[in-house]
């Protein structure tokens, strides 16, 4: 069974060759030549350096379109009109499924019709030289953002193509993103990705890796998100990754969000080896958005305000068109500027909110329980432990579409809007933690004069898109007919 051990270099090479054979653009990957290419890049394009030396939260949007020229235009717009500090390249869904043939078809259709027939940039199809053209055309560092369970070829091509940051991880890009992929298998695949990043790192090219913190984006309790971040961070560190950005998706309660980001940073520092530089990224609300740009700006505003108080190293912004579909470049830049204005107006203010310490304490305690369970399930090995913990339900993610997770844990907001756990199922947290969560949810049930039930969960899922934080039953409407 899988172990959290560094891939031996022979093994790396063997996989490397096999993977590169999956699509013809893999042939152009040459590690030595790629290291030299990275060395030729100017300092402003060194992702890890730019991020780790920043003295304020850097802003980064999401963005990807099929054709290279369009992607250059799009990113240039976000750089110039959005003043993005860091740029993204979001990969299309076919590439995420390793369906390079379908992606090729989509790309050809896009080139002919001018329509965006793919929901992202098929980097493998564009190959090493296409990626480099992109890197060279822009002034800021660019990250690969995707959702690919088996991202080996994507990593090989994009690292050789000059990208120095790569989102995802074996859990965070499996559990929320796919139904059938086995967790053990994805960990193996990501050991390769991380080892490859480690190999570059050893040659002085620090590839930044960013586990995807928001998971399903839908009311994920902070302890679960942070535990997954720690596990993925540990797995990556084992493979030689030295620049790690741990992520967290806004839940919308300011105290809980600030507490969670602090817990993430502190536990990250504590759990990860000293030689790893840990940074944090805060994602503006990742759940369902209101179907109205004005209201969406309110959601974005709350995210920005939270970021200004919590001061993560990086913020991933949303656009006011999030609800509708992939945003226009103007809307994407607008989301950046709204966020920028709010952060810049707030960041110099000393805002100390009560109760963050207690909430952080609560989050850390539950996270430690989950981490203990992972280690126990793996007899001290975090790779084996995480697979088994997901199998047993000791670790679980709400709304997980994956067969590898029980998906039995259900979250709901308490009376203050903090995300609590409504159904624990087999989640490995202490009875004390459970009692606290239950007590808070009981408070809410009382103040709404209804029982704790799935209706609360469903109401909370819709709440923000309906204009509120907490899904309270509304006087007039009823769900019954």
């Amino acid at each position: 069974m899988i172990r959290d051990e560094r891939l031996p270099s022979g093994e790396l090479q063997r996989i490397d060759e096999a993977v590169r054979g999956n699509w013809h653009t893999g042939d152009d990957v040459d590690f030595e030549e790629a290291v030299a290419y990275h060395e030729s890049l100017p300092r402003e394009k060194q992702f890890a350096r730019v991020l780790e030396t920043a003295d304020r939260p850097l802003l980064q949007p999401r963005a990807g379109v099929p054709c290279l020229d369009d992607q250059i235009d799009l990113l240039r717009h976000l750089e110039q009109d959005g003043l993005a500090d860091l740029l993204p390249t979001t990969i299309d869904s076919y590439t995420r499924d390793n369906e390079y043939g379908k992606a090729k078809q989509g790309l050809e259709d896009a080139r002919e019709s001018g329509d965006d027939t793919l929901n992202g940039f098929p980097a493998v199809n564009h190959g090493v030289s296409g990626c480099r053209e992109l890197i060279e055309a822009l002034d800021r560092p660019i990250e690969v953002r995707h959702g690919t369970p088996d991202a080996r070829l994507l990593a090989a091509v994009t690292f050789a193509g000059g990208f120095q940051s790569f989102e995802g991880g074996p859990i965070s890009y499996n559990i929320p993103y796919t139904k059938e992929g086995s967790l053990e298998q994805t960990i193996k695949h990501w050991q390769y990705v991380d080892r490859l990043a480690g190999a570059y790192t050893e040659r002085g090219v620090r590839i930044n890796r960013e586990p995807f913190g928001p998971l399903t984006g839908t009311l994920v309790p902070p302890c679960i998100a942070i535990a997954v971040m720690l596990v993925e961070g540990l797995l990556a560190a084992t493979q030689g990754v030295r620049s790690l950005t741990l992520g967290y998706g806004q839940v919308g309660n300011v105290v809980q969000d600030v507490a969670a980001l602090r817990a993430l940073r502190e536990l990250g520092e504590e759990f990860l080896p000293d030689e790893v530089t840990v940074t944090t990224v805060f994602h503006e609300w990742m759940g369902g958005f209101p179907p109205d740009e004005a209201r969406a700006n309110g959601v974005i505003g709350l995210g920005a305000a939270t970021a200004a108080i919590a001061r993560p190293d990086k913020v991933i912004t949303k656009s006011p068109q999030e609800f509708q579909g992939v945003p226009t470049k103007e809307a994407n830049a607008a989301g950046l500027r709204t966020t920028r204005q709010l952060i810049d107006m707030l960041i110099e203010q000393d805002i100390t909110i009560d109760g963050i310490g207690e909430e952080q304490e609560l989050i850390e305690r539950a996270t430690r329980s989950l981490m203990d369970a992972v280690y126990e399930h793996g007899d001290g090995d975090v790779a084996r432990g995480v697979v088994r913990a997901f199998e047993s339900g000791a670790l679980d993610v709400p709304f997980a579409p994956s067969d590898s997770a029980a998906g039995d844990v259900l979250p709901a907001r308490d009376d203050d809007g903090r995300v609590r756990i409504f159904a624990f199922s087999d989640l490995a947290v202490s009875d004390e933690t459970k009692e606290i969560h239950e007590a808070r949810l009981d408070d809410r049930a009382r103040s709404e004069d209804r029982d704790r039930s799935f209706a609360m969960v469903a109401d909370d899922v819709d709440a923000i898109s309906d204009g509120k934080l907490i899904g309270r039953p509304t006087g007039g409407e009823t769900d019954a007919d």
């Binding site: 379908k102 139904k179 179907p291 509708q324 579909g325 945003p327």
Partner: protein, 145 residues
């Protein structure tokens, strides 16, 4: 007898929250829901519909590739021997499209009804009641004829 409805997310789309809510609401409304989950193929929809003699097939798609994923969907259903009512809903096109054009495209692909992502689950239930009631009535007519 409760009416059986097949529900799933087509293609390689993994957005599960919408169908989770739909499943719960439709079950509460008295339907038998067979939830195929995310990343379901055309074939899986067709087999399930045939196997359960389903009266409706509800396809969800959020990620923007619905049109490609649904090419030939109704042939696949027909080949499996099912003539269930078909609905599709979610975020059906990449980008900021005009929904009326999108609706038209999916109607032409053969879907009986097309829903946008602002759809309240209750609307889908109301539509099902209307469409399935109508089919039952038709069936009765045919029987009595």
């Amino acid at each position: 007898m409760a009416q059986t409805v097949i529900l799933g997310v087509i293609g390689s789309d993994a957005h599960v929250v919408g169908i989770t809510i739909l499943e719960q609401t439709m079950e509460a409304a008295g339907f038998d829901v067979v939830n195929l989950g995310v990343q379901s193929s055309q074939q899986e929809f067709a087999s399930a519909a045939a196997e359960h003699d389903a009266e409706a097939v509800l396809v969800s798609s959020l990620y923007g590739h619905a049109e490609q994923d649904c090419q030939g969907f109704h042939e696949t259903l027909r080949d499996a021997g099912t003539d269930a009512v078909t609905y599709i809903g979610g975020n059906l096109a990449v980008g900021q499209n005009d929904f009326e054009a999108t609706r038209e495209r999916f109607r032409r692909l053969g879907f009986d009804r097309v829903f946008d992502s602002e759809t309240d689950p209750q609307e889908a239930i109301a539509a099902l009641r209307q469409d399935l009631g109508h089919r039952n009535a038709e069936t009765k007519e045919r029987v009595s004829a």
